[in-house]
Symmetry: C4
Subunit: 283 residues, 4 copies
């Protein structure tokens, strides 16, 4: 009996956690659709005109999804070894819990906007499903590039923040409250809007000196954008090159050292002659 319980646990594990079997794949697709649909409903529910018409359907669907997600939540606890350590207090465990909590709370508390928006964080759960798939490699490259360039990006962000604080303060003096620069934080907000080339136009310089300084910030912002781009580009090319080294499949017969350079004819570690890719074909 215990073994059959184990077998059910194992089967559930295959369905919920893996995507290689047909059932596991089907579960993932159903979950994906449920998450996206429930998020779309939260969105539509916030539009006053739609909300009034379909409030009952939305209410029903929301409870259907919540019950489905609740069952899934408890199943995940059931199939995980050491659920407290490995699931409940992990990142996705908390997200899963927050995904169902607001609906249950809405029984006791009158549904506020705040509750509604927490439900939208369900969207993050999509990334767990996509983690199982061919996008792992792609997101790995992106993450590695960002991690490797974190020091450069930190320095870059510091310089950007210093520029916006200084320029925002100067513009506060130059333009003054009468032109919308009512305080230094507001000046900094304007400097960020300008440097990042967003340019809402809610605050715009009107004095000649203000427009001159703004022009300098804009051209600086235009040139500065090249820096993070250069950082990420060079990191990506580097990580691509690192991956490329694996294309050389030569392995030394003597010391089993691999990752030889293309064109190497002797092992770089022990000096034994290596078989080149062409020689292998001739054998």
């Amino acid at each position: 009996m215990n073994s059959s319980k184990e077998s059910i646990k194992h089967k559930l594990h295959t369905i919920i956690q893996e995507a290689d079997t047909p059932l596991g794949k089907a579960f993932d697709i159903i979950l994906l659709i449920a998450i996206l649909l429930s998020v779309i409903i939260v969105m539509l529910d916030s539009v006053a005109s739609i909300s009034q018409k379909f409030s009952q359907i939305f209410f029903m669907l929301e409870w259907t999804f919540t019950i489905f997600f609740t069952i899934e939540y408890f199943l995940r606890i059931y199939i995980t070894k050491n659920p407290f350590k490995n699931y409940i207090f992990s990142f996705y465990g908390i997200i899963d819990f927050l995904a169902v909590l607001p609906t249950y709370l809405s029984i006791f508390v009158t549904g506020s906007h705040f509750m509604m928006v927490i439900r939208i964080f369900r969207l993050i759960r999509v990334f767990r499903i996509l983690k199982l798939g061919r996008y792992v490699g792609a997101s790995q490259v992106l993450r590695d590039s960002l991690i490797n360039s974190r020091h450069k990006i930190t320095v870059f962000l510091e310089i950007v923040l210093t520029i916006v604080v200084l320029m925002g303060s100067i513009m506060y003096i130059v333009e003054g409250p009468e032109n919308g620069f009512s305080s230094i934080p507001r000046g900094i907000y304007w400097a960020i809007v300008t440097l990042t080339t967003v340019g809402y136009g809610d605050i715009a310089p009107t004095t000649v000196i203000g427009q001159f300084l703004a022009s300098i910030i804009m051209i600086m912002g235009y040139a500065i954008i090249a820096v993070p781009t250069g950082i990420v580009s060079s990191e990506m090319i580097k990580s691509e090159n690192k991956k490329k080294v694996h294309l050389n499949t030569q392995v030394c017969e003597n010391c089993h050292c691999d990752k030889h350079e293309d064109g190497a004819r002797f092992c770089k570690i022990c000096g034994t002659a290596l078989y080149g890719p062409d020689e292998e074909k001739n054998l």
Copy 2:
């Protein structure tokens, strides 16, 4: 007689489908001008003040182009083997059909704006003409880069979409309907306008917390733009390098060293004579 029919078919094929002969080139240029002119007429026809003055000239020109495109359409069917499979239901076949349909329909239906705009899709036909030419290589590199980086771009778009959904929802709570954030979809629209640094200014944060969050989104958008740029740059450099390697397939008979430079006549490692691409042809 059949052979003369075949010969006409062959000649038409050379004119319509190929651009190497003077007649084929002339046909392509005339077609290009006709497409661009007819698109410009549709554009001008939508401007009320111009439309009133020249409506008769536009009507006449539109019918001239339509008849020309119709003849071209039937000629293309005539010269294609298995026209149903290879042309009529192909991408360009449908575009060609849609290019002439609205004008004929306008006899029966009073011309609406919608009909007019379908005619502008003729512009896509320009790409067929440009496909025959020296731009094939260039567009090949662009397409390959995009195809190779599709996984990374998918991951990138998912992250961007998640950010705009979450930030749009949070801003909906923070700013509220009184500041223009009347629903979550509208908040998401604002987040996209901000993250992509477009910044219309039709909706802009007015509260202090809203402006603070907006600043974070802007700086994130400023940094995030580096990611697709890095992806495409590294893909392009990779595909450039790949192209370079494939150009030379010489392998040394003696030491099996490959990846020789273009124009190499002796192995760079052992000095053995190499067979050049020209010599191979002479054998």
Copy 3:
């Protein structure tokens, strides 16, 4: 006497055309300052409040600069061999002529805004002065990168133009004249403003479908910007690498072929053994 005339001509040539002698350098700096000052005067003259106060000083300075540029123009004709072919009808010859013409014409014609702006094209003359200097190499790399990537950039621009024409037309139907999309050209103008992430906000979508389509264009524009960046980056890296090849200074003793790859030990053209950089040191 003729030889002394030649000697004067030669000396003038050294001063005006070259920047290696102290006098030539001084002339270049004076000319640079004169051009920049005269351009600044044109700018200030267009500001109504400043123009009223200083009109007489501006008038005097403008004539001083014009006479200086006129003397320079005739000296350039004098020192050039075949001045008609080599200078007067060359790009810079025409710019130099247009730089002085408006001031003389203003005697006969009452000075219009149009005349004033032609004078600002003097600014282009700055590039001739900067051409003589250390910026030649840098601008060469920029120009080569753009020339080498012209096919790719053409394809890219075609795609961008097609997108803005199609999206502008669709938005003309979706939003309509009541929301500012009064014609297809205006819709295209809006699509360009949006795709390039400028986002003035003078025309902004107000319907739900319009805002949804606008969001797609924005995210497309955000991703598309990666393409020209990738093109130029990969071209620059390529042209940097090409320059690097020159670092290998091996020349074959037998056939005088150079530009060997790093690590080459035999001439790739005739198979003669090459001296490596290290071997040369040992000799």
Copy 4:
């Protein structure tokens, strides 16, 4: 006694100038917090509503920080050899002096906005603290990339400035003062706002020709942004590669082949044993 004075001087030096000892690290962290807090207070003090409520607390805190910075300033003079040459008139010396000056001046002069903003330049002092740390390498790469590409960036900025001056002048004629283009400098301001894709919308073209020219500037700005990005990317990749090459200086005794991979112990071309960096130390 003199030696004990020297010992105090040495200890103070270790605490203030270095970050390797626990005390030095603690001092840096306290200084960092003091700088950031004092900058935040200046910011908040500029917000009218907050300033009224907390003016007394802000006044007290400002004096506390000023006295702390003053003590630090004199200690730095005390521990520096040749303080006039090495500290007082150096970049950071002047910044440190300006960081405390405005507060003392405010005793005599009634505090103006201008005084307040000078205090915000304290923020620059943060970079000195961060200079001691692991960000040196990262900022070195960024600085090297910018220094190496300064010629290209200068050429690029010249071209950008010429474009905005010419386009701004043309738009001044085309649109005229009635559409907000009241002078050439204002036209140039608009051209910068447009080319850098900021797009406030405070000035926007309204005539058809103006919108057509604006479209060209936008697409140009969209393509031009690729140039600085390409410059910085290629410089970064180059400086990354340079770093990589210098890491391994092994040269084979037998065939003089160099550029071996890190960790290589035998020549990859002829199989001769290489001296590793560690073995050299053991000799």
